[in-house]
Symmetry: C2
Subunit: 191 residues, 2 copies
DNA sequence: ACCTGAACACCGTTCAAGT
DNA sequence: ACCTGAACACCGTTCAAGT
């Protein structure tokens, strides 16, 4: 017999591996090209194998991806004024969303559930506990601003274009604009 | 011969009719079900006929839909402080976006072009002329907040769900939250 | 339990053809 | 100029079957 190239023992499929591969495809080629078949190829598996780990199929995958970029935890040890906490959370959320632009439209569109919902509630409690009254409204305003900022920043970077050529020079402007508006919003929420 | 039901003279296809039908489908059944073939059916035409009016196909249609909900004009006679103008523009934008929730993810994702870009520039000029310095940053912050607010409001209304059952009770809360954050942001942008 | 292969109903888009 | 019909390459998902 002739020695064949070692067929390494197939790493078993797992939700984590599926999600990683899906994010890689969506970020690299766009959400439109994230296909069950392509995802299967990337994982060295037939597309249908994915259904065993995500019985609700592509819809379930989308939910998981949205939650992945949307459920942000901020260190709970955070001593500090509500302003500092709000700022820390806003920055962490922006960073998480910008990390996977290919999946942003899901984050903006899918109703938050699970871990994402819990994170929001924690945020409200943190600000409340730091002395802000009307923390619920404040968190909703901050969330809206962060989501919208990232949407505008990503759309300006031309990401949504068929052939995505990201200009990294833009990210500085994006950050400056983000901080400017965040300052204004936090200041306004105070009075 | 037997009289046939009057086959009314076929109204010629037009970009306007295509866009109207597309919005109707997207709002009623979701963007995922907006299909060239379904769109053709709604217009009593073969899907391929649409390509004659939108040579770049579905991609072009998406661009047009995004622009449709995103290009907002506010009465230019608007005397008033920059605060009043900013508020008027923000409200008009929110209304326009909420009118077609099915297409919101396009508005948030597609880089603005054409009429939408012009509208943004006009906004900057209006606020500048009303005495606000740093009008560019202010407009970008306001845009981010408006987009994000609508995204959060629509996602909370459960619109993105497979079977969209919109709870109209929510719209009051949405408006209150929107006004609250808008007040804060405008206040903060002032000083 | 986990994965495959074949099959089904449906996509977007092309192209030659009709009027 | 405007629309149709057939065709192509590709979807998501099912289901029975393999191990």
């Amino acid at each position: 017999m002739i020695a064949m190239p070692a067929k390494r023992p197939p790493v078993p499929l797992s939700l984590e591996r599926i999600v990683d591969a899906a994010l890689h495809i969506a970020d690299g080629q766009g959400l439109r090209r994230l296909t069950m078949r392509r995802l299967g190829d990337a994982l060295q598996v037939e597309a249908m194998a994915i259904y065993h780990h995500l019985p609700r199929g592509k819809e379930a995958l989308m939910d998981v991806l949205a939650e992945h970029v949307t459920a942000v935890q901020v260190a709970p040890d955070g001593l500090g004024t509500w302003q500092e906490r709000a700022r820390a959370w806003a920055r962490a959320s922006r960073t998480a969303l910008l990390e996977h632009p290919g999946v942003l439209s899901l984050a903006l569109t899918k109703p938050s559930k699970g871990a994402a919902l819990i994170a929001v509630r924690e945020q409200v409690e943190q600000l409340q506990e730091a002395g802000l009254e009307g923390a619920g409204e404040a968190v909703r305003a901050l969330r809206a601003y962060v989501f919208g900022s990232v949407a505008v920043e990503v759309q300006r970077s031309g990401w949504a274009d068929p052939d995505a050529t990201v200009q990294n020079a833009r990210t500085e402007d994006g950050e400056r604009d983000f901080e400017h508006g965040l300052d204004a919003l936090i200041r306004g929420l105070g009075g």
